[in-house]
């Protein structure tokens, strides 16, 4: 068990592509840290640098205070679980799990004992004599885990280990891996593109975008107070509604002007967030999580100046909740960055008359029907605000 620290780590490929920019991260002893981000954000590259499978172009990587930038993977005392498991097809499950021990010249009896113990932990005892080709996806995944835990390494590195499993098995293995990690207490760096996986498994989650670290925090803090629009939009499902609007004075307090329709903010808003003062009568990006929107006929005590009158273009009833899609004239904030402008530009969803579509997550008792008028109540005390220039959160 150990601490893994990245200190201003950079990765520049020979073709000049700068994949990781000054990444600084610390995984504490026994901690489960998840690296999450969309594809191409550099999360796997970062993990592979920790494993020693990619050279580090700049900065320092330390495992237990020892700089390991130029240490061969086998001498870093880490174990890695690959997305496709990377099992040795010609070896039995037992040989797969025990391969590292065999290479380390550990006595046969001890190998057998440790393999048996790992197999028991992972419920693989019955499969020890089989070849990987004869196993199901979930069993292969366990063998890959077994190969990691049998070594008792300083750290586990996991590269999207669940993405080849079907949805049900993924949920099950998610819990198993998290439980196993807690029992063993091994420092773990886990890469995924799935924010649900990240939120449910990680002690802390690091969000990456285009090689830049956006925010590292506990799942709850990422959700409650995202540092910028990217994190706000990435964490949470359905995504946060991000609207270009104007912050205006309204009575004794503030309101956001959503292209004509006003949403009043609670009176103590400025008191809680004085950073907003500088943006009165200016453009801001307002973020409303779908779960902070409710059918006004259910939230009947919601003040009338915190409601949106609209209609529904789509109603998805999931049993435990109802997702409604509703049009508004106000435009959504588009995440742009100078270096890659245009590449990400997926046109925002619109309806037939060119209105932009947003989502709300309503109580299942809602009577919303497709095409009907609806009044939605917004919990404006939970709104997020961002600077439209740099996308950073507006807060003290």
């Amino acid at each position: 068990m150990a601490q893994v620290a990245l200190d201003n780590v950079n990765k520049i490929y020979p073709n000049g592509f700068h994949a990781i920019h000054d990444l600084s991260l610390e995984v504490d002893d026994g901690e489960f840290l998840v690296l999450v981000g969309p594809s191409g954000c550099g999360k796997s590259t970062a993990l592979r640098m920790v494993a020693g499978l990619e050279d580090i172009s700049g900065g320092e990587l330390r495992i237990d205070d020892r700089v390991v930038n130029d240490v061969h993977p086998k001498d870093r005392d880490i174990a890695m679980v690959f997305q496709n498991y990377a099992l040795y097809p010609h070896m039995s499950v037992a040989d797969n799990i025990g391969f590292a021990l065999k290479l380390a010249k550990i006595p046969k009896a001890e190998i057998a004992e440790r393999v048996a113990k790992a197999a028991q932990t992972l419920d693989l005892t019955e499969q020890l004599d089989r070849k990987p080709g004869q196993l199901s996806g979930g069993q292969r995944q366990r063998v890959a885990m077994g190969r990691a835990i049998v070594r008792q390494p300083k750290a586990f590195l996991m590269d999207e280990p669940l993405s080849n499993l079907d949805a049900k098995l993924r949920v099950q293995m998610r819990a198993e891996i998290a439980g196993l990690q807690r029992d063993l207490g091994v420092t773990t760096l886990y890469v995924t593109h799935d924010q649900v996986e990240a939120m449910t498994m990680g002690d802390r989650v690091a969000v990456l975008k285009r090689g830049y670290l956006q925010q590292v925090d506990s799942p709850q803090n990422l959700y409650e107070s995202p540092d910028n629009v990217f994190v706000a939009g990435f964490i949470g499902s359905p995504s946060m509604n991000l609207m270009n609007c104007r912050l205006i004075e309204h009575g004794s307090g503030l309101a956001v002007d959503l292209d004509g329709s006003l949403l009043a903010l609670p009176d103590d808003t400025l008191g809680r967030n004085s950073a907003l003062r500088a943006f009165v009568d200016k453009d801001v990006v307002a973020g409303i999580r779908p779960e902070d929107i409710e059918d006004a006929s259910i939230a009947s005590d919601a003040p009338s100046d915190r409601r949106i009158r609209t209609s529904t273009t789509l109603v998805e009833s999931l049993g435990s909740e109802v997702i409604v899609h509703f049009p508004m004239t106000v435009s959504p904030f588009q995440i742009m960055d100078a270096e890659f402008e245009g590449e990400d530009a997926v046109a925002p969803a619109t309806d037939d008359s060119g209105n932009y579509i947003y989502t709300g997550r309503l109580n299942p008792r809602s009577t919303a029907r497709i095409g009907n008028e609806i009044e939605l109540a917004v919990d404006t005390s939970r709104m997020h605000f961002f600077n439209p220039q740099d996308g950073l959160a507006l807060r003290d």
Binding site: G52, L53, P73, N84, A86
Partner: protein, 310 residues
């Protein structure tokens, strides 16, 4: 048959055509000659007029193992030498080169073409090249390098049939070894291309997993890559054995120097040579066939045993 009912009449016609024509060709060009060879090996025939054909029973075989015993054993041994050298020299070299080229060194494509080049040449052409460029007594590369080009001092690479490795009355003659060299040269490229294709199919993360597990380069190859390429290894083994058994053209175009007989040469010599004995030639052919069968049966047995295990 649920499957065939889905086929229309014209589908079926195309299907019969596509299966039938190759089957007819195969039967006509492989099975009939093979069976004819077996039958002819029990006859005495000069190959010109059918009325001279005479059934002689096992006489041809008895002669092979008595009168022609020396020819037969020399040829069998020479085939075996080819096999040994292709296996112990050419195959490991081809695998080594493929393994190095798979590392994506600079100029991989160039080296790949370079090593593969001999394979596109027919062995007859390879023979001529080596004979005139490498082995020529007066201006060949070897004698020039060794400074043995003067009349009377020349080394006759293809003419010296004395044994380098004697084994009783038989052995590995010097000129046969000189013939094996170009076979090896060509086979290296063959194996390299086959193995390179196999290596490209190896999951890169498996190599990475092995590196993290602590495998050295040699352990990675020996314990992970090589065994995981079993299908390719089997193909390489089959090809090597077949190449060694059917070797013919390179020896024939170099006028079959003394001491360089192999089975296929004996077959042609007996049938087309002065004695023109189709029966004896066929008997040699049957022995060649049996050597192949020996290997094929052993190979198929292993394969089926492997299948049962899975």
């Amino acid at each position: 048959m649920a499957g065939s009912s889905l086929l229309s009449k014209s589908d079926r016609r195309v299907m019969y055509g596509m299966v039938g024509v190759p089957t007819l060709l195969h039967v006509g060009l492989v099975w009939i000659p093979a069976i004819a060879t077996i039958l002819l090996s029990f006859t005495n025939w000069n190959g010109f007029r059918f009325d001279t054909m005479k059934f002689v029973g096992l006489q041809n075989y008895i002669q092979l193992f008595t009168v022609f015993e020396k020819d037969l054993y020399e040829a069998l041994l020479n085939n075996l030498w080819v096999l040994v050298f292709l296996f112990l020299v050419a195959t490991p070299m081809g695998i080594l080169i493929a393994y190095l080229l798979d590392k994506n060194l600079r100029g991989t494509a160039f080296y790949q073409s370079l090593f593969y080049f001999p394979v596109v040449l027919s062995l007859a052409v390879v023979g001529f090249i080596w004979k005139s460029v490498i082995y020529s007594p007066r201006q060949g590369v070897l004698n020039v390098i060794l400074g043995r080009t003067a009349e009377g001092d020349q080394i006759s690479w293809l003419g010296d049939s004395s044994f380098l490795i004697p084994l009783g009355d038989y052995g590995l003659s010097k000129n046969f070894l000189a013939l094996i060299a170009p076979m090896v040269w060509r086979h290296v490229g063959y194996i390299m291309v086959l193995y390179l294709a196999g290596l490209k199919s190896v999951d890169p993360s498996m190599k990475e997993a092995a590196a993290i597990d602590g495998a050295s380069e040699w352990q990675l190859f020996r314990q992970v890559i090589f065994p995981s390429l079993k299908p390719v290894n089997v193909v390489i083994m089959v090809i090597t054995v077949i190449e060694a058994l059917r070797i013919f053209d390179i020896i024939d175009v170099l006028n079959n120097p003394v001491g360089t007989d192999v089975l296929s040469i004996l077959v042609t010599e007996s049938i087309l040579g002065e004695s023109s004995n189709v029966g004896r030639g066929s008997a040699y052919g049957v022995i060649l066939l049996l050597s192949c069968l020996l290997f094929v049966v052993w190979y198929l047995r292993n394969e089926f045993r492997g299948l049962e295990e899975e």
